[in-house]
């Protein structure tokens, strides 16, 4: 770049930087949505309710609690009190419910450890209860109702949304690079007149666009990273600069790392295509 960036080149640089920023920010947002969805699904799957069928009375509940204390997958178990049930029902219905009106419940809330997808969690717990002389059923979160299946849909939407948005930004970067090639049209004509081939001419312009794209991508990626850190600090209570490193996975950095690379590639390719076309127009006589 001769003598720094002037006029149109500066505008093109910031257009590319904006495209890189927007694409990287969309990528970070998608990663955020993905992690929220995974956490949501894990917390859904980590909870179940055991309904004690037999023996009747407090003895059945006590036996069930004892059996659950050593049952596989179970990390904690607590009988559902009338107060707890009333609170849950009030939350679900939106109307206050008096615990005194809640009938005697034979339910135990359990928290579960993460299990492999092949594991029969309910069957293992029912078997453990049966070994303790208790007949019970385990009620897990439903697969399709009450938020079931939401996480995969959110993850898909976040992924494809980021891809589509990234593609739109790629189109903007491509068009901006064509603008740079148009700006270099007189150089294309000069090189053509001096005998440069189409690939030599296009390569010269593409190199310049790729370097511009690389710097713009770095600027856009850094801006997106700064914006991401600010959002995390503001959106999650208790987050500090010291806690941030432990919250960020290596894969979360992919959009930032990819921004310069993809911006350079797209800008180079866009400028190469345009310069090749301009060279063809300059060379076309017969």
């Amino acid at each position: 770049m001769r003598g720094g960036l002037l006029g149109v080149e500066r505008a093109l640089f910031w257009t590319l930087a904006f495209a890189a920023f927007a694409a990287a920010a969309a990528g970070l947002a998608a990663r955020g949505a993905d992690r929220l969805a995974v956490d949501y699904e894990q917390s859904r799957n980590a909870y179940a309710i055991v309904r004690v069928i037999a023996p009747d009375g407090p003895a059945g509940m006590a036996a069930a609690e004892t059996a659950l204390a050593s049952a596989p997958h179970v990390t904690s178990a607590a009988p559902m009190t009338a107060g707890r049930a009333a609170a849950l029902l009030s939350e679900a219905s939106g109307e206050p419910i008096d615990p005194a009106h809640v009938p005697d419940l034979r339910l135990i809330e359990i928290e579960l450890a993460p299990a492999s997808s092949h594991a029969d969690v309910s069957g293992d717990i029912v078997a453990a209860l049966a070994a303790g002389g208790v007949t019970a059923e385990v009620i897990e979160a439903p697969d399709s109702a009450s938020g079931g299946g939401l996480a995969p849909r959110v993850r898909n939407a976040a992924f494809w949304g980021a891809i589509i948005f990234g593609a739109m930004m790629a189109v903007i970067a491509w068009l901006a690079a064509r603008g740079l090639a148009a700006r270099r049209r007189e150089m294309v004509t000069v090189m053509c007149d001096l005998g440069a081939t189409r690939s030599e001419t296009a390569g010269r312009i593409a190199d310049e666009a790729a370097v511009l794209g690389l710097y713009a991508g770095v600027a856009g990626g850094v801006l997106a990273a700064v914006a991401g850190v600010i959002v995390l600090l503001l959106a999650i209570p208790g987050t500090t600069l010291n806690t941030l490193p432990s919250m960020i996975l290596p894969i979360d950095l992919v959009p930032i790392a990819a921004a310069p690379l993809f911006t350079a590639i797209i800008a180079g390719a866009g400028a190469r295509a345009a310069a090749g076309q301009f060279h063809g127009e300059a060379a076309r006589l017969g």
């Binding site: 001769r2 007189e186 150089m187 004509t189 000069v190 090189m191 001096l194 005998g195 081939t197 030599e200």
Partner: protein, 246 residues
């Protein structure tokens, strides 16, 4: 730079025949502009192609600078048989041709020096290797004082001089100038043609296309008349002011 392959064409080139056209037709789209052209240019000689407007002079220079392919006939330029050559050979030959367009195109924001150096940069030379040569060349065409000026600031005659300097920078075998005196005073025009003709002394072949047939007495040269796409046999002239070169 790749040398032409050993062949009759190479032999021609080594014998100093830079261009040989035999019964060549050329044109654009459906229209045929040049018909039955026979032409030869040798190293160390100046050729003036002269004729009225729209006679085919510019098309002729496009043919010689390998920008316009011939439709028929045989065209051997710098040892390359144009109709049989691969694009790489054509591209290499183009780099050995210095071309001064009627309206030369420059990178306007670049300095005269940088524009003149462009062919050398394209050949991969480093500024430290070509700086002195380019400076001398810019002086030679009389633009020493404008070397660092952006080309957009040059006058029409200065732009033409800069175009000549650029065309000479890579020490081409063949120099083509399309109407290099257009829009200039007669004195300026003659100076430009003298400048171009000087290149015959370093072994280059020079072909100048111009409406002005009085340029024929600027230097010893072959004068070819073109009219309605047909080229007549050449006449050899002596320079009226030949002493200016001695």
């Amino acid at each position: 730079m790749a040398r032409p392959r050993a062949s009759i064409e190479t032999d021609l080139f080594e014998r100093g025949v830079l261009v040989r056209l035999s019964n060549v037709d050329a044109g654009y789209g459906a229209s045929t502009v040049l018909m039955g052209i026979d032409f030869e240019a040798r190293s160390g000689e100046v050729n003036l192609i002269t004729g009225p407007a729209a006679a085919g002079k510019t098309t002729f220079t496009h043919l010689l600078r390998l920008a316009l392919p011939p439709r028929s006939g045989r065209s051997v330029i710098l040892g390359v048989d144009v109709m049989r050559a691969r694009s790489r050979e054509i591209a290499d030959a183009k780099k050995r041709i210095g071309y001064v367009a009627e309206n030369p195109v420059f990178i306007e924001q670049w300095s005269t020096f940088d524009n003149v150096a462009m062919p050398l940069r394209m050949l991969g030379q480093k500024p430290r290797d070509y700086a002195e040569d380019v400076r001398e060349l810019v002086e030679f065409v009389g633009l020493g004082g404008a070397s660092e000026l952006p080309v957009e600031k040059l006058s029409g005659a200065e732009r033409r001089r800069a175009a000549i300097a650029r065309a000479l920078a890579a020490k081409p075998n063949l120099i083509l100038a399309d109407d290099p005196t257009a829009g200039m005073s007669p004195a300026d025009g003659r100076r430009i043609v003298k400048l171009l003709s000087e290149m015959r002394r370093v072994g280059a072949g020079v072909v100048i296309a111009s409406q002005d047939d009085t340029l024929a007495d600027v230097a010893p040269m072959w004068v070819w008349r073109i009219d309605r796409g047909r080229l007549s046999a050449p006449e050899q002239t002596e320079a009226a002011d030949a002493e200016a070169y001695e």
